[in-house]
Symmetry: C2
Subunit: 167 residues, 2 copies
Amino acid sequence: MVAAAIALAGGVAYMGGTPARADGAIAPAFGIKPPSGYRDWRLISVAHEEGKLNDIRAILGNDVAIKAYRDGTFPFPDGAIIARLAWNYISSEENNKVFGGPQSFVAGTPTNVQFMLKDSRKYASTGGWGFVQFDDGKPVEAARLSGCFACHVPVKARDFVFTKYSP
Amino acid sequence: MVAAAIALAGGVAYMGGTPARADGAIAPAFGIKPPSGYRDWRLISVAHEEGKLNDIRAILGNDVAIKAYRDGTFPFPDGAIIARLAWNYISSEENNKVFGGPQSFVAGTPTNVQFMLKDSRKYASTGGWGFVQFDDGKPVEAARLSGCFACHVPVKARDFVFTKYSP
């Protein structure tokens, strides 16, 4: 099936042509773009991943998601979108000089941006969440996202969302 | 001198009774509070500091600051405020289980929040920036902030601001 464009809360006209899949991965289709204005969303929290990822990241939420976090509304209501922005994790020579030691790490170039979109009907088989990733603004193949939901199952008690809100 | 309350851009009625000092530190005084709504400000970037600080941090900006960053307007105009929120840097057992290794670090409890406020007249002797820090919502003694400006001098070319905007 090809769904019609979804009008999400907050006036974000999201993507047209997003087939729902049993694994929650949103198949890329012509015209899929990141939600408009996501870089202006409010902060949920931050994190650092070592290993292959080696990134530093910010997790932002649209108005629906932020309100749910602050009110403690779980599961998240339909229309909630959580964005995970990541950048290469780099040592800051400039900062280290000031601190007097190699202790400062900052965000370098962007790596990719991931979104979780809550639509309890459309993504019923994956906890109500759809998963999508953009590399350089382009959606990645759904096949690469097929494992997203399985990894989120351990945090089912928090509606499949790892990130906790940082006050 | 005791300055009158400053009405900053964005409708933020800031603090009453903030003596300007030659080192840019804003002396704590009765009624000093963090700028209203700063937790809703937009993201500039993220960072991690090792060493004694051992924190993970987000740098947010009010509307004036974000606009200046995006437009490349330097020096920052009066009314710009940059907020640095920091949390204890902790390993996430929950995330590590999913990743299969000890690679995930997240934000724990908040440590403190720092602000740089641009007022080119009031803080003329410190590059136009006033510095303030809040621990648990309470302003720290100005004496503890007396070194702020000196450390920022190496980045004078970027109007004394270390953090670069992360797209």
